[in-house]
């Protein structure tokens, strides 16, 4: 990490009288969670390297309201949504990319009715489009020949039917992509969704993340690829629970791409 990150804000862009090609919605996890911040930075390194004109809201960004809505607090959700929409509309945001499937789903599906109409894409779709447009080239690099399995985030996969973009990216790395017994539409949740991330699980005989990690370990991967900061946390905990942290890593797709390019 020799070069420092260039992260313009929408306010700075506006001051210069310019509009970015895409607004990067960082999300709460991407802004504050130590593990997720690494994903954010990996994604920004790719954006910087490919000269994508982007900007963040910075201190003007606020929670999309997703966890409040899934917890049943529609009031809080709509308050958050309307505040965010005012900010986004003031900047005339058109296209939003985010590395969090929960932000992605909420911005894409639940904001339009409240007055927020944007083209919203997940960062795996965005990276895929960079490759398709020839702006980003990827070679296997350090991951060549490794065995990687992809865990479908519920709010990316089932909720929005994005299954192929992350897989296409992984396959660009000259790796062996292996599917878990439950994947794509049948993928098992990591246990974090529906605001579960912020509470203890109800009494049961196992944690959901442990069960999902068992699915992943069954295919004996070197790396479990994720596309969601919350799945990442849950699977990382699952790996620790299985005492496999020495052998198996959990990495975001953006990190795989960035690391493969030695960014």
């Amino acid at each position: 990490m020799s070069e420092s990150l260039v992260v313009p804000t929408m306010a700075e862009m506006l001051a210069q009288g310019t509009q970015p090609e895409v607004l990067f919605w960082v999300g709460c996890a991407g802004s504050f969670d130590d593990r997720a911040k690494k994903i954010t930075k990996a994604f920004v390194r790719i954006l910087n390297r490919t000269n994508v004109s982007f900007a963040v809201l910075g201190t003007e960004e606020s929670c999309t309201g997703d966890p409040a809505k899934r917890a049943g607090n529609e009031f809080l959700f709509q308050m958050q949504a309307m505040m965010n929409i005012e900010v986004l509309n003031a900047y005339e945001a058109k296209k939003i990319v985010t590395a969090c499937p929960h932000c992605f789903n909420t911005l894409k599906n639940e904001y339009p009715e409240l007055g927020g109409n944007y083209e919203v894409i997940h960062h795996t779709e965005f990276l895929k489009s960079l490759i398709d447009d020839g702006r980003l080239t990827v070679e296997g690099g350090q991951f060549k020949g490794k065995k990687i399995t992809f865990h479908d985030p519920c709010y990316l996969g089932r909720a929005n039917k994005v299954y192929e973009a992350p897989r296409d990216l992984i396959q660009k790395l000259d790796v062996e992509l292996v599917e878990m017994k439950r994947s794509k539409a049948n993928g098992l949740c990591c246990g974090a969704g529906g605001a579960q991330m912020f509470k203890d699980a109800e009494p049961g005989n196992k944690e959901v993340n442990v069960l999902r990690t068992e699915d992943a370990l069954e295919v004996q991967p070197d790396i479990i690829a994720a596309g969601c900061p919350f799945c990442n946390t849950m699977l990382t905990d699952g790996i620790k629970h299985a005492h496999k942290e020495g052998e198996v890593k959990v990495m975001d797709v953006a990190e795989l791409i960035a690391n493969a390019q030695d960014l």
């Binding site: 991407g30 910075g58 089932r158 509470k199």
Partner: protein
Amino acid sequence: MSYLDNILFAILLVVGFGFFTASVKKIIRNINLGVDVDRKDNPKARWKNMALIALGQSKMVRRPVAGILHIFVYVGFIIINIELLEIIIDGLAGTHRIFAPYLGVVYDVLIASFEILAILVIFAVTVFWLRRNFIRLKRFIHSDLKGFPKSDANYILYFETVLMILFLLMNASDLHLQNVPGAVFHKAGAFPVSQFIAPIFNGLSNELVVLLFEIFWWLHIAGILVFMNYLYFSKHLHILLAFPNTYFANLKPEGQFDNLESVTKEVKLMMDPNADPFAAAPADENAVLSKFGASDVQDLNWVQLLNAYTCTECGRCTSSCPANQTGKKLSPRKIMMDTRDRLTEVGKNIDANKGVFVPDNKTLLNDYITPEELWACTSCNACVEECPVNISPLSIIMDMRRYLVMEQSAAPMSLNAMMTNIENNGAPWQYSQQDRLNWKNEN
């Protein structure tokens, strides 16, 4: 057949269909107890869903063994019911196989295919019975099904087997009577299956075989009418309701949860700098104070109630639910069964009180579904994805969570902390919004 037979048959039909119509009316009334929701948009996509998912069974075959066996039973029942038309006309007019002379070879092909389907149905139903009672698949021995639901499932399988056996015996005795010297019945139909059963009638007097034929014929049609009327009391309503249910199912992305309109109004008012906070609420005498979320079946929308009647308790939702797989109390199937059972109870209450619901100190929440079940959901949509007829247990769970949080402030402590953080600093954790971009300069 004598005249008396025809009259008896007509009475049987009228009584059978009369009771059935009354049941259907009750179901429609109960479904209409739900809140209105517009599902008239995009008829093209809706018809397509119905054609693919209900008629075409596309989601059933995701589990191939059960899926293919189910198609045998499904096609069997739909096709064999063509035969029902002939049976009804024969019964009313006192004729015997009235279609045969008109259809010729086509008739032989039809009867032959009915017979083959009948044997496939018996085979499939036998495997289903084994799966429930001997192989004991997890989703069929789950605690949700304790008591009547378990028996209900078996009764349906017995019913179907008996009806198919009667159909084949009817054909077999018919065939025997077509072939005896001096043929009692005229030649009609081809019988690839019942030709092997027919020899059991050898040596019996023609009078006795005619009597047996009549017994099989009457039991078969009476059995069908009884079975049709059993539907109302059973999980088996899906054979009818799967069609409207797939038509009216949600077309939006699974991740999109509805935005409560009543909340939107309030929030817009709160955020409007020109709103007069002391203004009296607009007087509307007819306005019903609606609650946020759902605590009972009347708070749910009619599609959710249609979902509840459509559920046939197959348990694919529960077997794919991450909470249920890890031993939590939540079972999406139970959410649907509870909703249906409570709706039935509310319906009976209305019947008993001359068309008005008299509060009975019970609600769907707590008396049927506990908060512990609701809070175990990860909103992962596995249940919705899995349901072969597009039922959404998740939407009911979410509406009940809304009631718990917005009407009762009864969220788990840690979730209250998360929500307080969002209110105060715009993130589920206690970090200042001013620090949102700090990551940029951290190493």
